[in-house]
Amino acid sequence: MMQSDRMNEAAAPDAAAASAQPLLIRARGIAKGFSGNAVLHSVDLDLHAGEVVGLLGENGAGKSTLMHILSGGLQADTGTIEMEGAPVRFGSVAEGIAAGVSFVHQELSVIGALSVAENLHLGRMAKTAAGLVNFSLMQKASRALLERVGAGHIDPRKEAGALRAGEQQLIEIAKAAARKPRLLILDEPTSSLTPHEVGGFFSYVREARAAGAAIIFITHRLEEAMSLCDRVVVLRNGAIVSERRPAETTRQQLIADMTGKPAIYEHRPRSVNGGEIALSLRGVSDDRLLDGIDLDIRKGEIFGLFGLVGAGRTELLDLIHGVHRHKAGTIKLFGKELSLLDPSQAVRAGIALVPEGRKTAGILPQHSVRDNAAISSLRRFARGVFSDRAGDAGRVERHRQSLGIRMASDTQAISTLSGGNQQKVIFARALMAEPRLLLLDEPTHGVDVGAKSDLYGIVTREADKGLTVIVASSEVPEILALCDRVAILSKGRLAGVLERAEMTEDRILTMAFKEH
C-alpha cells in the first residue's frame, strides 16, 4: 500500500512541466502517525517555483496532514523538508508564514463583526500620525487586494459577517495573497464560490504562478484540477499513488487513482411507476426570495433542484421542511395541505432533511454515532416517555450495514469518523425516521469520491423502494448522475423543469443563468 503502489507510467516529479523552474520545496520521506495510526507513509514531494500542483484524494487520505506539516501546523515524525536546498523545520504556523508558506484552510476564520478592510489588515493595521487607525488607507489597499483575487465587487467597508460564504472565502484568499507567499496552499477554496468568482480566483492563481509562487490546490472537483493545474498528485491511504499531467490523463483515471477502483457511479435508467403525486407546490412564496413556485413531484421520484448560489434552493427546502413559513401558496404532501410551524412537525409528517453544512447543521459533535443517528426518530419509537435505547442500537446496526458506515462501535463520538462516514450517519438519521419525503441539501458537499458513489447508490435504492427524494445541488454532474427530473431555480423563481431525456449540462446551466 506504500511506495510499491506508485504507478510506473506516471510522470516522475523531475519530468513535470515546471522542471525548468528552480526547485522550491523538496520533501523526502515524510511520515506521520497519530496515537499509533500511521496517516502518512514516507511521502516524497517536489514543488517548483511557478507551478500549480493539484492535490487529490479521498477524505482521510492524508491531504490535510501533509499540508499541515508543510505549513508548520504539525511536525513530521520522520523525513526532511528542504526549501531552496536548505533544510527547514517550522515549529509553528507563524514560522511557516515568516518563511513564505501560507495555508488557506477550508474552514473560514473571517471575523464577522469587523469590516472587510479590518479583516484584511488584522494584526498590521495602518495608523495615522495621531496613532489612530487609518481607515482610508486600509480601504484603498483592500480594494486593490480584493481586485487581485477576483473579488473587486466586495465593498471593503462592509461588515465581513454579512458576506456570503463564498465572499468570505475570497477574503481568506486575499489575506493570504497580501503576504505574497512563496508557497500558497489552498484547501478546497472553490467549494462555495459562484462560477464567476471561480473565474476571478483562477486568474489570481495564474498571476501568482507567473510571479514565481508554488501553489498547492486541494479540490474534490476534478474539472477544476484538470483546467488549473500543471501537475496533479493523488494521495491514497497516506501515500502518493500517482503524479500526472492533466493533458495526459482523464477524469476516470484520476478517480481510479483516488479510490483504487475503476468504476464510478453512472445514472441508471429507472422508471417511476404510478402517477401518485407525493409533493405538490402551488404559488409558493416567501417574503424574501422565492416567488410563485409551482412543482409536482411523483412518489418514488428522485427530483433535482438546481440553481446557482443564491437562487433559492436551500430556502425552498426550508419552506417544505417548516424551518420558515411560506407566506403565500399551498404545499401539499400526498394531497394533504401542510402548514408547518417547525421542523419537528415536518419530521412527524414524514419529511426528513439531510441539511447542507455537515458541521454546522448536521452532526451533534459531542454525541455518539448511535445518538446522532437516533435523534430524529426518538419520538417515533418511544415507549411512553422513555426512549427505546435497545431498539436504537438494533436500528443503527441495520443502517450501518445497509449504508456501509465504517466505524469501530456505535458508541464512539461521531466527530472521530471521516466526513463521508459522518454524512452516512446523517443519512441514517433521516432514514430511521421512516420518511415519506427525503430532502437532501448538497448531500455530497465535501465528501470524497468513494463515499459520494455510495451515497448515490443509497439514494437510488431508497427511491426504488418508493421513497420520494428531492436533491438540491450546485453540482451539475451530481444532478446528472442521480435525478429523474430537475427543476432549475434562478433568483428565487422557477426557470423550468427538465425531463431526464432533456437533461444536459449545457441546458441546465443556461436555464440557471436566465435573468428575470
Binding site: 419537528s344 419530521v347 447543521a361 452532526i363 451533534l364 454525541h367 437516533a374 435523534i375 438519521r429 425516521a433
Partner: protein, 320 residues
C-alpha cells in the same frame, strides 16, 4: 508543591469529571477529619447533607438548563419569592395546601417567564434571567415590606425534620436526583435536552422542537427553585424576603464543579450532586476551622473560577 501536583492530578482526571470532583470532595473530607475532631460526628455529617440538599435540588434544574446551553441566574430570587408567596398565602388563607401549592406554582411561573423571554422574545437567557432575578426579589420585598413571615407545618418537617435521624430534605434530594438522572438519560425529552445543547441548529433540523424543550428546562428549573425555597424557609421556620440571596452562585458552582460544560451538551446528574456536596463541605470547613465568614465568600468565588477555568483548559486542549 502539593497544590501543584493536586492540580495536575485533577486535570489528568479531566475526562471523567465526576471522578475529579469526587477526588476533591474526598481530599477536603480527609483533611477535615484530621483538622477537626468534630467533623466525623454523625450530627455534623448529616448537617452537611442537609445544607447540600437545597443547593443540590435547585442545581438539578440548573444542570438541565446549562446542558441545554442556557443559564438561569434568577434561581436565588425565585427561592425567596416562592417562600414568601407560600408563607403569605398560608397566613392569609390558613390553608397549608394552598400555600405550598402557590409556592411551587410561583417557581414554575417564574421559570416559564424566563423560558418565554428566551424562546419568544429571543432575549439572551443571561440577560433575561438577570432581569427576573431583580424583579422576583423586588416582588418578595414588596409583598412583605421587607419583614420575614413565619412559616411552618409540613414545610418545616421537610426542611428541618428527620426520618431515622436522616434529614428529610437530604432524602428528598436523593429521590429527586435519581428521578432526574433517569429522566435525563432515559426519556426522549432528556436526550433531546443534551442534543440541543450540543448543536441547536442541527437538532432543530433533525426534528427536535427547540422552543418547547428550552421552555421546558427553564420551567422545570423554576419549579425546583420554588421547592428549594419552601425547604429553606421550612428549615428556618420563616420566609425572609432576602432568602436565597446569592444562591445562584452556589447552584451554578455545583453544576459546573460536577462536570457540566457551560458550552452545553455535556454533564451528569451524579456529578451535580457531588458538586453540591463539595460546596456544602467547604461551607462546613470554614465553620469547623473557625475561619471568618468573609473568607468563605472569597473562597466561593475562587471555587467557581477554578471550576470554570478547568472547563476552559480542557476545551482549550480540544479545540485549539
Amino acid at each position: 508543591m502539593a497544590m501543584h501536583s493536586g492540580l495536575t492530578f485533577v486535570r489528568g482526571l479531566g475526562r471523567h469529571r465526576e471522578a475529579s470532583v469526587f477526588a476533591m470532595l474526598a481530599a477536603v473530607a480527609i483533611y477535615l477529619s484530621f483538622a477537626s475532631d468534630y467533623f466525623l460526628e454523625p450530627r455534623n455529617l448529616l448537617n452537611v447533607g442537609r445544607q447540600a440538599s437545597v443547593v443540590a435540588i435547585v442545581a438539578l434544574g440548573q444542570a438541565l438548563v446549562i446542558i441545554a446551553r442556557g443559564i438561569d441566574l434568577s434561581v436565588g430570587s425565585v427561592i425567596g419569592l416562592s417562600a414568601v408567596v407560600a408563607a403569605v398565602l398560608m397566613r392569609d388563607t390558613g390553608s397549608e395546601a394552598i400555600g405550598l401549592t402557590a409556592g411551587l406554582l410561583t417557581g414554575l411561573v417564574c421559570g416559564l417567564v424566563n423560558g418565554v423571554l428566551y424562546t419568544r422574545f429571543r432575549i439572551n437567557p443571561f440577560i433575561a434571567t438577570l432581569g427576573t432575578l431583580s424583579i422576583a426579589r423586588g416582588i418578595a420585598l414588596l409583598m412583605t415590606g421587607g419583614i420575614p413571615v413565619p412559616f411552618g407545618g409540613f414545610a418545616e418537617f421537610v426542611g428541618a425534620g428527620r426520618i431515622f435521624d436522616i434529614p428529610v430534605s437530604f432524602l428528598l434530594m436523593i429521590v429527586l436526583a435519581v428521578v432526574v438522572h433517569v429522566f435525563a438519560s432515559r426519556t426522549v425529552i432528556g436526550r433531546e435536552i443534551y442534543a440541543i445543547g450540543d448543536n441547536p441548529k442541527a437538532s432543530r433540523l433533525a426534528g427536535v422542537n427547540l422552543r418547547a424543550i428550552r421552555l421546558f428546562v427553564f420551567a422545570f428549573c423554576g419549579l425546583l427553585a420554588g421547592l428549594g425555597g419552601l425547604i429553606l424557609a421550612g428549615n428556618l421556620a420563616s420566609a425572609d424576603p432576602n432568602l436565597g440571596m446569592g444562591y445562584e452562585l452556589d447552584v451554578i458552582a455545583a453544576v459546573i464543579l460536577g462536570g457540566t460544560a457551560l458550552s452545553g451538551g455535556r454533564g451528569s446528574i451524579l456529578g451535580v450532586v457531588i458538586g453540591a456536596l463539595l460546596m456544602a463541605l467547604l461551607n462546613n470547613a470554614f465553620v469547623l476551622l473557625g475561619i471568618s465568614a468573609y473568607w468563605q465568600v472569597v473562597t466561593k468565588g475562587l471555587v467557581i473560577i477554578f471550576a470554570v477555568g478547568l472547563d476552559g483548559l480542557q476545551r482549550g486542549s480540544d479545540d485549539d
